[in-house]
Symmetry: C2
Subunit: 267 residues, 2 copies
């Protein structure tokens, strides 16, 4: 059972995990250094704990205690109970879903264990926006994908906003980070995946055609601004496009991923 610890002072050092949640750079450093991540909202906090992430602590106003009673029952981590305005003072924003938890990151699984039984996977190169990363995990999970691989520079799926937008899909979907950006796609091909890059390249074919009859598919997605690197675009087994109306630049990467996942799940 979590010990309930009333805290009245925003400067209390025990609240260090929850400071300045809107400052992305500061959070990146703090979370990497201490091996933690933050979950926000009753549903997401519950999913994180149920997925096996060990809580370091919780922070919430008194009125959220009941909703998370079963979760608090299951752990020995302290639960800091604070006035609502103190939560805002510490975190830097209005915590409208109430509960926060700080949880321990786990060592990333090996590529091998993530891919072992996978038939449909997403490979994200340099997606920089946490909202997009979260939305992509959620769409992949909903549309029957088995795993997500991240290039070394892809944004963190355990960043608070990724988790929130993904509705915790990052806890249920197996994922890991690729060590070797340069050889990533050839390695996947060797493992039996057909790597299909979503791109506006000249030789891109309709994605429905690209996935047809393919057994193990790796959909490869590039960054929001300039898309895939030249290396990844060239090394993919196929280049594919979602056919679009004339005069439109492109779909948002999260929307394109949802469509491509749908098409792939119907291959």
């Amino acid at each position: 059972m979590a010990e309930l610890v009333p805290v009245e002072d925003a400067g209390d050092p025990r609240l260090a995990d929850y400071r300045d949640l809107r400052d992305v750079e500061l959070r990146k450093n703090l979370e990497a250094e201490h091996g933690l991540f933050l979950a926000e909202g009753e549903k997401v906090v519950r999913r994180a704990v149920e997925a096996g992430y060990r809580p370091r602590s919780f922070l919430m106003a008194e009125r959220w205690l009941d909703g998370l009673a079963d979760v608090l029952e299951s752990t020995d981590a302290p639960c800091f109970v604070v006035p609502e305005d103190l939560a805002e003072e510490v975190t830097g924003f209005h915590v409208h879903r109430g509960a926060l938890a700080s949880l321990e990151r786990q060592p990333l699984p090996t590529l091998w264990s993530v891919l072992e039984d996978a038939r449909s996977i997403l490979v994200l190169e340099d997606i920089v926006d946490h909202t997009n990363v979260g939305a992509i995990f959620r769409s992949g999970a909903a549309l029957g994908f088995d795993a997500v691989l991240l290039a070394p520079r892809c944004a963190d799926p355990l960043y608070r906003r990724s988790i929130k937008v993904g509705m915790g899909a990052v806890f249920s979907m197996p994922w890991t980070r690729l060590d070797d950006w340069f050889e990533a796609l050839p390695s996947l091909s060797q493992l039996g995946f057909t790597t299909i890059a979503l791109t506006l390249a000249e030789d891109a074919v309709d994605v429905a055609e690209a996935v047809r009859g393919v057994d193990k598919v790796a959909l490869v997605l590039g960054s929001e601004g300039h898309g895939l690197s030249a290396r990844w675009e060239a090394m993919a087994d196929k280049r594919a496009i979602i056919p679009m109306a004339p005069g439109i630049d492109s779909l948002n990467v999260a929307a394109a991923t949802a469509v491509a996942c749908y098409v792939t799940s119907h291959r």
Copy 2:
């Protein structure tokens, strides 16, 4: 030719249109009262002006003038040229895409004119998130939809963030707001549209099946949290779902819309 007006004082009343851009409630009031909206970034500013919206003024640091020279050439609105840190002081955030424009809203077109030649339309009930509204416009435009209708309480497509996420699709896509929430769907049915509500309702059929063989389609989308109102869900001609993996709640509304638009465009 826009007159270039150097401004050095963040309190200058001529910058009133650009104040506190991160304060959603304040902006809603200010923009409604003055009939204006804000466009951000060279590409989006250009698209707004080219789409026929009349600029009230521009605000940018000197280094952005060249990129928008042709746009500034085409108007008599003043262009306030400011130091970079002053732009941030006025707007409340770092304007990383440089140029801002304040433009006049136009009277909304009639439902009749928006629907006249439309075969595929989106109908948004109470989408509250501007990011989602923008993403939905962008997906609809890319995937061949002809128009968007908004329920009275749907978030504003001309809000800065909607425009930015939509990459200006709100300027090219015909849209208007429905006056009559209660009779909206029956009216569309009378106009020959098959209204198809995306929902998790028990009697929802696969969206691919729902749209098959339908001529004029109206895809009906509900709010992020609780989905469609009971009235709209009941009054739609069909209820449809995107088939999902077991144990997953739902797709994000923008992702679901992208998939549904794709499926509908292939009907």
